[in-house]
Symmetry: C2
């Protein structure tokens, strides 16, 4: 057992959908969250830039005495994690393998859709991860670059959002996928809109929740779970003003933010 905190980071606030799940399934764990709100979004940036940002994010989290890192960001997991995980002593997991595993378990017709940022789709890492688990799966990818701005501006419903989602999702619907990976941790907030377009019969895999489930198993295997009895604490750090964090953050966490929120100058790391 290990009572040190878990570090979790994302390009912005989407990773809080993973924090929500961690709080649910590992309520006694302490959490240090970093949201790179000063440089969000990662999804439209080049791989080299994302790798640079991810290294700084990890360097920052490692200034705390953490036991485990969850990359709660689809873009960072797919564009950077495979290239950097061996550079760090701390165990790091992301959303990629957990979400792929969830999709492979859920699919019946072996037709899986993946939606994510341009960076995630371009990396092709979800296709690789699914094929390693289910070689004859057919994978259909679609980049949805406006979903992050829509969510970060609170537009999780309404006709314009529905039209943009319809445009993005029609190919997956026409391909008759029975499972879709929400490959970006912002997307669970668009579940209602997505569900309306693809129908009730399609399994939606929440990559942030899948990452939390996997981290729990992984930490248990490694003897890293806490044996504390009291409820864990959470500290939040962002790279832009802390001003809007509470309001937007509680939208993702689906409860009031309970914990300190501080600014950090991420470019120093």
């Amino acid at each position: 057992m290990d009572n040190r905190p878990i570090g979790i980071f994302d390009s912005g606030l989407g990773g809080l959908t993973c924090v929500k799940e961690v709080m649910k399934i590992m309520p006694n764990e302490d959490i240090i969250y970093f949201g790179d709100t000063g440089r969000v979004p990662y999804g439209t940036r080049s791989r080299d830039t994302v790798i640079k940002y991810v290294k700084q994010d990890i360097n920052f989290l490692e200034t705390f005495d953490i036991k485990y890192i969850i990359i709660a960001c689809g873009t960072a997991s797919s564009a950077a994690l495979p290239f950097i995980e061996e550079e760090y002593a701390t165990r790091i997991s992301g959303v990629l393998y957990p979400a792929a595993r969830g999709a492979v378990r859920a699919t019946k017709n072996k037709k899986i859709g993946v939606i994510g940022t341009s960076g995630t789709v371009k990396s092709g890492k979800y296709i690789e991860a699914i094929h390693e688990l289910l070689p004859d799966a057919q994978v259909f990818q679609k980049a949805c670059p406006l979903f992050v701005p829509l969510v970060e501006n609170g537009m999780t419903e309404g006709e314009a959002t529905r039209l943009i989602a319809e445009e993005y999702l029609k190919e997956l619907r026409d391909a008759e996928v029975d499972t879709i990976i929400l490959g970006c941790t912002h997307y669970p907030l668009l579940t209602d809109v997505i569900r309306e377009i693809v129908g009730e019969g399609v399994a939606l895999i929440d990559s942030g929740a899948a990452a939390a489930d996997f981290a729990r198993e992984d930490m248990e295997r490694l003897g890293l779970l806490s044996d504390k009895n009291e409820k864990g604490t959470a500290k939040f750090f962002v790279s832009d003003s802390t001003e809007n964090f509470s309001e937007l953050g509680s939208m993702f966490l689906q409860k009031e933010i309970d914990g300190d929120v501080s600014f950090t100058d991420i470019e120093k790391y």
Copy 2:
């Protein structure tokens, strides 16, 4: 006269709408352009973060032997320029005063609309600038946070964009403004959609073009215009991959990008 280049920067590629105008009205000037594509957008970030980024952008441009700087970014001009201009030896102008002047000249009913990013609207600087020139003007502001992502994703037309624009612009239309400042250099690409909603009778002030016009006058007054006869050259720098620059950039410039495109690590400055 002065044959050194003009430095122009923006949070991303929107500033190229200003470059286009500079190339038209000062064809013999050399240009160094910096687009902070690794940290775009500025408009949703806090003032402190924008000020930090703007200082780095200016520090980078000053590594070249430039004679003048145009801040071709609504957010940077309104949130940062008033606070930093005295720190630099190079003469700096932005989009704020030039666009306000353009609006005051255009309005007949003294009802002026301003659209921009959240940062621009929150700063209130456009209201101040207009009132200094026309104290009894009525100014109606509206933040349009999705316009930059829509433009940067090529969605400058279509039903979803029209619906979002309708939502943003209906207050200004109802207020019967006869002039609207496009207070962000990305917005001229949405002119057709905006025009459709507000009607032909409303003057749209392109802040990037206004900034170029003002810079020309200012440089003439200061004896900074070039006396070269040959066509000026342009060098472009971005803080993310140069890969997509040519394609997206030519959308803003409305012609092929003719000039070197290089990466710079802006966080070093």
